[in-house]
Amino acid sequence: MLKGNRYLQIGLAITGVVTVLAVLGLFWTPYDPSAMNSAEMYMAPSLRHIFGTDNFGRDVFSRVMKGISTTYLISLCTVAMGAAVGVIVGALTGYFGGIVDDILMRVNDAVTAFPSILLALVFISLLGFGKYNVILALGVAFVPSYARVVRSEFARHREMNYVKSARLMGATDRRIMFVHILPNTRAVILPTLVIGFNNAVLAEASLSYLGIGVRSPDVSLGYMLSESQSYMATAPWYVLCTGATIVLLILGFSLLGEGLQQGRR
């Protein structure tokens, strides 16, 4: 699958680097990301500070690393939450169909009518700010889209021969759903998850950029972007390095998603 699949190769490479930075950022950064130093304010990138320093003399690279960790973690949790609930709802409705399916899907349609960022905004306004509320809000906001994909897959597989024969052999519904069908839908679900991850990154960045996402001392890439924007003239490296990191993070995963879809064909 990897061979000859450019998208997958480049995607994996970028994602790999970013992931290493994210994991590393959890345990170690070159400087304390929140340590202020009035002697080193607004320093341009150099060997000492490869991404320069910000208005408080903090090391931008350390902050970027911390920021990737936070953004990454929030997005992962969001996807995990959205997918877990989405798969269960999608599987049940897709497999059993009927009136419950009709009602749930109608509600689902209605919910997907709200763009997910708006939905997250509403949830945040109900729950309050902070890291965990962002995860919860985005997770809930992403459930319908996963549920929809999973549902259509299950509805398709329900009528296939292998499911029919499993049913004849007396397998329980639960077993058919999660042991027989689910693994067969991975080719569709996996790219959806990867794309979902990207949407989560974008949504988290937007929320934090708007100032209603994570709070200090937490650092996320979106939060940093809103911070750094004020200093664009005096410290352009701050905004550029932060922005470029977000781009890289999203680019890596979108190439990965692309590659996975191509590998399926």
Partner: protein, 515 residues
């Protein structure tokens, strides 16, 4: 392979464009050629940038925020008003007499003072305005000091006599309260005063427009029109300044100012005339514990805060009084708690918090100096073991929930004086004050305050006010920081801005320089 080289090339090209774009600041085409700007000079009007919207009610007797007062100052006048030296000068009144052992104030209304609707000010309007402020039917009077009023009456068409229950040295300062037309009921939405500017329109979260009032009794405004534009986002504010959308803006940080081109802007420096502090909610544990508050006082490095926020500028304070109040300010309190993180840790441990505690600092997101201060303060408090988070909220939310609702742990804000009395700074910490959002509750302090307002001798009163300040410091009421450095950016070809010892922005003297 070919594809990869191409990708690399494209990426480099994009980065190159962006970087060269950023480095090219010197090649600015003339900002002065900006169309809107030329138009404004021609029309003799300016745009003033403000970081916060006014309150939903524009009623001058109700509005509590410094930001609202700063704007309304140009529209309203009292019987007397402060000048830029902090002295009271006559405004709507032409002259006044104080008789009856300091209990009776007789005001002679200036001839020909008009409201913006053309109506001439008479005694009835003054009596109405004073009574409105003193009206206690809603619980407390709109202006607390007016509860001392015994009687207000119109002696004749142009003379008003106010009698107070006991002589009060500060009383005159409170007569800066706006004079409004008798019975006028649209103050909340359509201000109507006697000031050099008249209110034109308002669009929430966008702008407030005022125009020169031609029939003003005094010198009159130099400008024909002023538009206040609201930029609640600090970045948008700087962008607007840089781009030429704003001609005048105060309360900037040194980082914001550093981005402006001095070719187009002159930077004026003053102090903000307020007391910036980490105000603590004394009803929220553990800030009900004096030992904890005291410990935290030692954890604050004020010089570092000033270094980060204003490039080292600003004036440290040690109590609820800022230096412009030369009569009351006590320099000896400034260093009452010297920065000493080790001692802070020690005291915290003794107070029962060896491992610190969780603390949330709420700060209004539109106010960049306070936001930056919060970031530095949080870092300093973390250094002594506290787990500090910063909650940025919209100004309106801050006002509703933190200030009015008193629902917070700690907050950073600047408190100013509505007039030039010590009372304006100190009354809010009495336990019954409706403005006491810190819930500071100290019977000894209340007693001192009662003594101060009853004092008839100026020296004695000043001494008591000083004792009150000292008490605030000694009980570590709040973590006092500084009177912020106020950086004002104004177009290079504008002139006439005067600084006041209170938090106002007088636009009547501001003008374009014309050849």
């Amino acid at each position: 392979m070919k594809q990869r080289i191409l990708a690399l090339f494209l990426a480099l090209m994009m980065v190159g464009t962006v970087l060269s774009g950023c480095g090219d600041g010197s090649k600015d085409p003339d900002v002065d050629g900006n169309h809107g700007y030329l138009e404004r000079v021609k029309n003799n009007e300016i745009v003033v940038g403000i970081a916060q919207d006014l309150e939903d009610s524009l009623d001058p007797h109700i509005s509590a925020s410094a930001g609202s007062r700063e704007v309304l100052f140009n529209i309203y006048e009292g019987l007397v008003k402060p000048n830029s030296d902090g002295e009271l000068i006559c405004a709507v009144a032409r002259d006044y007499e104080i008789t009856n052992g300091g209990r009776t104030y007789t005001f002679f209304i200036r001839e020909g003072v008009q409201f913006h609707n053309g109506q001439t000010v008479s005694a009835a309007d003054v009596v109405y305005s004073i009574n409105r402020c003193a009206d206690a039917s809603g619980g407390a009077p709109l202006v607390a000091a007016f509860s001392a009023i015994e009687e207000v009456k119109a002696v004749d068409e142009m003379t008003v006599e106010i009698t107070i229950k006991a002589a009060d040295l500060d009383f005159l300062s409170y007569l800066t309260e706006a004079i409004v037309p008798d019975g006028y009921d649209k103050l909340a939405t359509a201000p109507m005063g006697t000031g050099p500017f008249k209110y034109v329109s308002r669009s929430p979260q966008e702008n407030i427009i005022i125009e020169k009032f031609d029939a003003y009794w005094g010198e009159g405004a130099a400008l024909d029109k002023v538009t206040y534009k609201i930029y609640e986002d600090a970045t948008a504010l700087v962008m607007a300044l840089k781009g030429g959308a704003i001609d005048l803006c105060s309360h900037l940080t040194s980082a914001q100012v550093a981005q402006l081109d001095t070719k187009y802007f002159q930077i004026l420096e003053d102090t903000m005339k307020l007391v910036q502090a980490v105000y603590l909610n004394h009803k929220a544990a553990p800030f009900d514990n004096e030992a904890v508050r005291e410990a935290l006082c030692y954890a604050i490095d004020r010089q570092q805060i000033m270094d980060f926020v204003a490039g080292g500028r600003g004036t440290a304070v040690g109590s609820s009084m800022y230096p412009a109040f030369t009569k009351y300010f006590m320099p000896e309190l400034v260093d009452y708690y010297k920065y000493d993180p080790a001692k802070a840790k020690d005291l915290l441990a003794k107070a029962g918090y060896p491992n610190g505690f969780d603390m949330t600092i709420t700060v209004a997101s539109n106010n960049k100096p306070h936001v930056d201060t919060a970031e530095v303060v949080a870092q300093q408090l973390r250094a002594v073991g506290l787990n500090v988070t910063i909650q940025q909220v919209e100004w309106q939310t801050w006002y509703d929930e933190t200030y009015k609702g008193r629902n917070y742990q700690a907050t950073i804000v600047g408190l100013d004086a509505s007039n030039m009395t010590a009372r304006a700074m100190l009354e809010r910490f009495t336990s019954t004050s409706s403005k006491n959002f810190t819930n500071y509750n100290n019977p000894a302090y209340d007693a001192l305050f009662a003594k101060a307002i009853a004092a008839t001798d100026d020296a004695a009163q000043t001494a008591i006010y000083k004792d009150m300040q000292k008490m605030l410091t000694e009980t570590a009421a709040n973590l006092y920081i500084q009177d912020l450095c106020d950086l004002v950016a104004m177009r290079h070809d504008m002139t006439g801005l005067q600084f006041y010892p209170t938090f106002v922005l007088d636009l009547s003297t501001v003008s374009w320089v014309t050849e």
